[in-house]
């Protein structure tokens, strides 16, 4: 299975390399693009996970009205097409945004978003939700028997940190940071728009240029290989500091409040939740306010594209799950699971432009790539969501095996039986989260269809871009709201399935 994924990424890369002619080398501008890519991705990943810690902790130990809705809504930035997210962010932080409006009103100076700070801000905005959810999944998986024991032992804050938080963070944080780092290395539009100029050139932009204006396939493939190398190095570093977690077994009881609660920690949690909610939700609110009036008047082809996108999202989520569950189970049995997960990470580390073009080169001699546009897009979307699914599933499978494995062994449960009785009941939360994420991701991602598409086949994000590209800004904003609504609904439908038993 892992070999298959490997082939699906490296095959297209090889195909592009094979089609290249002439000498292949990287110029000085490529090296500066690589440097900028690494810098902004590292800062963005660091920013996202560091900010995610207080937010996830607060969401894990507080219950309040509307918590579920908030958790779902806060996932939205990660699921949106980047241009929508960027426009929403600019409505708040831009030169004519709410923040500068408010600052101007009270006579303070103005905030300059364009530059490295803007790139990092946007990437944190896009990826903080993912980091929060990955950490939250883990925190919620602490057996409540353990928390009860901590209560009984009169654990203080420091004790909780030492015995629960730190081991959990060691297990989850490096992987989450790696995931976000890799997502940010293939960033292109966000980095360029918010970077404010050509100093903010990323590897992905260099690839784009190599393909489109220079048609220098060799250079594009070489830059694709650079992305693979970055992925491998980052992977080795992240997994080097990851520790397997061991937080004990439980009987799947409902979670309970943590001991050592103080007024200070209550305030801290309130600030963390309010701050994150404002940061993540205000830009979305701006998008909705601008686009909502146009939704009802959207042209028919937008609705048709929406229907196509939903089918595509469900199909690629199903495919992603059928790949991810066996992979996760297989990985847990390995001594070095990181290797397999690293392979899955390649799917997000390598430029969609390279993969799309490579697939085109591979398909063109045998079939019509345009006729296969939707299946190919579905397949690539499924592959791209694999790393997220694995990140959610692997820790859960590890824990299920650690807690239920011996009993299952003793009962002689194997294969499907073991999956059904020992593993799946404990996987429902991460699986629901993962399927929701995969479906929503496929829904909101422009994906490789942009390379293959033809009229009457477009997905909703593609139609939205097309509307934007022909002056129809109002309709494009309406389509963005529709896309956001559908994506969130899809995510919520699956994710809730996993969360129900936790809140019961």
């Amino acid at each position: 299975m892992a070999a298959l994924v490997c082939l699906a990424v490296l095959g297209p890369l090889g195909a592009v390399l094979w089609r290249a002619d002439g000498p292949i080398r990287l110029g000085a501008s490529d090296w500066s693009a690589i440097r900028f890519t690494l810098l902004q991705a590292a800062l963005s990943a660091l920013g996202s996970v560091v900010l995610a810690i207080p937010v996830a902790r607060a969401l894990a130990r507080r219950t309040f009205r509307g918590r579920q809705a908030l958790v779902t809504l806060m996932g939205a930035p990660f699921l949106l097409p980047v241009i929508v997210a960027v426009l929403g962010l600019l409505a708040i932080f831009g030169r004519a945004g709410w923040l500068n409006g408010a600052l101007g009103w009270i006579g303070a100076g103005d905030v300059q978003i364009y530059g490295l700070q803007g790139v990092v801000l946007a990437h944190v905005f896009l990826n903080l939700p993912l980091a929060v959810r990955l950490l939250l999944q883990d925190w919620l998986s602490i057996p409540s028997e353990r928390i009860r024991l901590a209560h009984a032992l009169g654990f203080s804050h420091a004790d909780m940190r030492r015995h629960f938080e730190w081991p959990l963070l060691r297990a989850t944080l490096p992987g989450a940071a790696l995931l976000i780092f890799l997502i940010c290395t293939t960033s292109f539009a966000v980095a360029l728009i918010l970077g404010g100029g050509p100093a903010a050139t990323t590897v992905e932009l260099a690839i784009y240029q190599a393909f489109r204006f220079d048609f220098d396939l060799g250079r594009a493939a070489l830059l694709g290989i650079v992305q693979v190398a970055i992925c491998v190095c980052a992977g080795l570093m992240a997994f080097g500091v990851t520790r397997r977690r061991d937080i004990g077994a439980g009987l799947d009881r409902a979670p309970m409040a943590w001991p050592g609660d103080t007024r200070g920690s209550r305030w801290g949690d309130t600030i963390a939740i309010t701050g994150a909610a404002l940061f993540l939700l205000l830009p979305l609110l701006a998008v909705v306010m601008q686009g909502l009036p146009a939704v009802s008047g959207l042209p028919g082809l937008v609705w048709a594209a929406a229907a196509r996108s939903i089918v595509l999202a469900l199909a690629s989520a199903a495919l992603a799950v059928s790949l991810a569950v066996p992979m996760a189970i297989f990985m847990v049995r390995l001594r070095r699971p990181a290797l397999v997960e690293g392979v899955a990470f390649l799917t997000i580390a390598v430029s969609p432009m390279v993969i799309g073009t490579g697939l085109f080169v591979l398909i063109f001699p045998v079939a019509d790539p345009v006729a296969l546009a939707l299946p190919v897009t579905g397949l690539v979307n499924a592959l791209i969501s694999l790393p997220f699914l694995l990140r959610a599933l692997v820790p859960a499978v590890q824990q299920a095996e650690a807690t239920q494995g011996r009993l299952a062994d003793a009962l002689g449960l194997r294969g499907l039986q073991r999956l059904r009785h020992a593993l799946l009941p404990r996987l429902s939360r991460p699986l629901g989260f993962g399927v929701g994420l995969a479906a929503a991701f496929s829904m909101g991602d422009l994906g490789v269809i942009a390379l293959f598409s033809t009229p009457g086949q477009g997905t909703l994000p593609l139609e939205m871009y097309r509307l934007m590209g022909s002056y129809r800004t109002d309709d494009a904003q309406g389509a963005a709201v529709l896309l956001m609504g559908l994506t969130l609904a899809l995510f919520w439908a699956f994710d809730r399935g996993g969360r129900l038993n936790a809140d019961a």
Binding site: Y114, A189, G197, P198, F215, G469, Y471
Partner: protein, 328 residues
């Protein structure tokens, strides 16, 4: 039940057998084939006279279009490529995939002479900075813009055709002084976007006073939205032209039909569709045949255009100049 399925299958085959009229495949950019673009009306008009099936295939934008053809090479299904501009045609000719059109183009209404053997123009526009009519003291040339604190948003010449157009504009107007101009503009540029849509979107959101677009952009707002609040700044250096062209592939299996389409492209039935769908000036339609509203547009004093060869030769040095000036 089974019989109906078989019958349905047979009728599909029968339908395919009947529809043996020749197919003309035209690769073009996405917005050309959109429902609101020129594609549907043009398809209808051409099919009414050609006894053929005209099929448009959308492939991103102009630059993506050329990349697609190069990727497919001689085996491409395309008979015609429609949507390259003169900054790309030198590279397109170099591929050897295109054939001379052999048509004597008459009645062209471009502001420049046209004698390209491979490509024929179908529309054109002037690049221009679009702004709100309320903007006071709109700059009248690049030097005034650089000296002012008017903010602009532009497209990246490495990923976008208008971005490349601006690069050529500065090159054509200032030549050796281009670096100096770009350095002067650096503090006016709010940001650089990958494509036209993002830049125009940022402008409409109020992120910048002006955006690089076309003198015809205000016509969209005026005619489609009845909004007269946008205009374009007339620059005294003259305005660089974008000429959009089509050419036929050397490997086409329908050379006669392809030529017929290129001739149709310069006829009123095609040309009249262009202004209010592609929001550009048609390449062969007199000014008095333009729709109401076009007469309000800014008329540049001079049209600038580098030859395809000069544009191709200037591109890399100009890119380096641009990147160096703006990376400071």
């Amino acid at each position: 039940m089974r019989h109906t399925i078989i019958a349905a299958g047979l009728s599909v085959f029968a339908g395919a057998a009947l529809a043996q009229s020749p197919v003309l495949t035209v690769y073009t950019y996405d917005s050309f084939v959109a429902d609101w673009g020129p594609g549907p009306a043009i398809e209808q008009a051409f099919e009414a006279q050609c006894a053929c099936d005209l099929q448009f295939v959308g492939a991103g934008d102009g630059a993506a279009l050329l990349a697609r053809i190069r990727l497919e090479g001689a085996r491409t299904d395309a008979d015609i490529v429609l949507g390259l501009d003169t900054n790309l045609t030198a590279a397109a000719v170099e591929t050897g995939l295109f054939a001379p059109h052999g048509i004597v183009a008459q009645g062209l209404t471009l502001p420049v002479a046209w004698d390209d053997e491979t490509f024929l123009p179908y529309d054109w526009g002037y690049f221009a900075f679009v702004h709100d009519v309320e903007l006071e003291d709109a700059p009248a040339n690049f030097e005034a813009l650089a000296a002012s604190d008017v903010s602009i948003v532009i497209q990246d010449p490495r990923s976008s055709t208008p971005g490349l157009g601006l690069l050529m504009w500065v090159e054509a107007a200032y030549g050796d002084r281009a670096a100096e101009i770009w350095e002067g503009l650096a503090d006016n540029i709010v940001t650089v976007t990958p494509g036209w849509s993002e830049a125009y979107g940022l402008f409409l959101e109020g992120e910048a006073d002006m955006v690089l677009s076309y003198t015809t952009s205000p016509a969209y707002h005026l005619i489609a939205e009845e909004d007269a609040s946008k205009t374009a700044a007339a620059f005294s250096e003259g305005h660089y032209l974008q000429v959009e062209v089509a050419g036929m592939l050397a490997g086409t299996d329908q050379p006669e039909l392809a030529r017929a389409f290129l001739e149709f492209m310069l006829s009123p039935a095609f040309q009249e569709v262009i202004p209010t769908t592609n929001w550009m000036y048609p390449a062969a339609l007199p000014a008095d045949a333009l729709p109401d509203g076009f007469e309000t547009l800014v008329q540049p004093s001079q049209a600038l255009l580098l030859s395809p060869e000069a544009a191709a030769a200037a591109r890399n040095p100009a890119l380096e100049t641009w990147q160096r000036a703006l990376s400071r």
